[in-house]
Structure formats: C-alpha cells, structure tokens
Amino acid sequence: MSDAMPVREQHRTTASAWGGGESPFAVPWAKLMMWLFLLSDAFTFAALLTGYAAMRITAGVWPGAGMKAADFFHVTTVVGPMTFILICSSATMAVAVGAARRGDHRTTVRFLALTVLGGLAFLGMQAYEWTGFIREGARLTGFVGELGGKIQPMFPATFFVITGFHGGHVTSGVIYLLVKTIQASRGRASAESVEITGLYWHFVDLVWVFIFTLLYLI
C-alpha cells in the first residue's frame, strides 16, 4: 500500500502531529515538563483543600461556637496586602518574561529582582501571621490555653499544613528566582528558562487565590 503512495504523501503521513515527526504541543520540552509538574502539584493542593473542606463541613461549627476563622487573622491589614503583593509579583514576573523574549536583559534582571522582593515580603508577612496565631495558642494538633477545647483541633492543623505547604512553594520559588536573576545578570539565562521560572511563580500565585478564599474569607 505504502509502496504505491507518492513520496510527498508518505512524508505527510509520518510527519503528522502525533506521529513523532513534530511536536504536537509546539512548546519546548522543558516547558512541557514544567506544565506537567504544575498539573501534578495542582492535584496535591486540590487534595489538601478537599480534605480541609470535608473536615469543615463535617465539623458543622467552624472554628468554634460564635467564632469566625477571620477573627484569628488580620484579613484586611496583613492577608489582603499579602495577596496584593503576590499578584504584583506575578505581574513583575510577567514583565520579566516579556523583556527576556525581547532580549532586554537589563529589564529582565530588574523585574526578576522585584519579583524576588515580592516573594520575600510575602514570606515575611506570612511569618508574622503564623507568629500571631501561635501566640494565641494554635498548635499543629489543636489549640492550647484558654481557647483549648473551644476550637476544632483541625482548624489550626489544616491552616498550618496548607499555608505551610504553600509557603514551602514560595520559598522554593524565591530561591529559583534568585538563581535565575543571577544567571540573567550574567547573561546566561535564556528567554525560555525565564518563561519556565515564570510558570512556576504564577502557579504559586494561582494556588494562593484558592487558599486565600477558602481559609481566610469563607
């Protein structure tokens, strides 16, 4: 059958999108792998947040009788600005990616450094929130002190696990960004690698959207 097929026709068959002749996604390999990693990470966060939702629904009263989760945190003065900072750092990252694509190294380095600063500010504010919460008696296994017994033990447990896991991602992201900033300042960061770093950082911002909504606002 194939012997009878014209040469040009044979070439088109073997070079079809899924035949191995060309990339069906039209993205570099490293970028595709980052997307797949982020997809798997999304499932981890989804499992954590689903577990949190299940515990909250079954508890009925959350975190305790006559209390709201927002009573324990500084939603408008700390957590709101934390969200603002993370969104701004995502925007500076996007500008760094755009600059890297245009070959503007100076702007790339400047905006990567701004993104690092945003990440550090976010981590500092999260440390402040954690300190305040721990001082109120929150522990990984439940509340101690005068609030002990009045509050669902899973309230501080889910808070520390979910925000801690996200904070770990932010910390890794800041280190990743620092390395990329140093590479870019030496002219050794390709536009593609800056874009892949950006994908990771935007994902951290994307996950925070749900943590902010589910843990602090609802």
Binding site: V27, T50, V75, A94
Partner: protein, 103 residues
C-alpha cells in the same frame, strides 16, 4: 503563534499584563468586600468561589500564556482538572451526610 510573537516584540503584552494585574486587584477587592456585605452564607460562598475561579482563569490565560498555546496543550492541562471536581463532589457528599446526621 506568529501573531503571539509579533505582540511580544510590539509591546502589546505589557498592556495585557497591566490590564490583567488591574482586574486581579479589583476582584481581590470585591472578594474582601463580599465578606463584610452581610449576604446569606451560601451566597457568600458561591460568590467567593466564582471570583476565585475568575482570578485563576485570568492568571492561567494571560500571565501563564495558556490562552496563546496550542489547543492540544490547553486541553492536556485543563481536562484533568475535572478530576478535582469529581474528587470534591465525592468527598462532599459523604461530609454532608455526616453533617446532617449530627443536626
């Protein structure tokens, strides 16, 4: 793709980033305001989840450039996310049973 790269060179992307950034901040402001509006609990939850999904879509589409990727990649990333909805619905059903048994 060609148009996409042309936009990158032309600087149209910066406008897109600024507009996306602006709307993300507006939606965040709306989210915080929703908590203090005194709406019924279910309405607050539905509104906040909808606003969070809108923010996530904006970040993925414009900051992560997913909107400008091939449809193959968009479906490969987006389709498995249905599993999260299935996971939540399965677990929520069980959790609601326990909740109503306790009432």
């Amino acid at each position: 793709m060609a148009e996409h790269h042309e936009n990158v060179r032309g600087g149209a992307w910066y406008r897109t980033y600024v507009v996306t950034w602006f709307w993300l901040l507006v939606i965040t402001g709306l989210e915080i305001a929703t908590v203090f509006l005194g709406l019924p609990r279910l309405a607050v939850i539905l509104l906040l989840v909808t606003l969070a999904l809108m923010k996530a879509a904006l970040i993925a589409a414009y900051f992560m450039h997913l909107r400008h990727e091939r449809l193959n990649l968009i479906f490969t990333i987006a389709a498995p996310l249905i599993l999260i909805v299935i996971l939540f619905l399965g677990v929520a059903r069980d959790a609601l049973n326990v909740f109503f048994l306790r009432q």
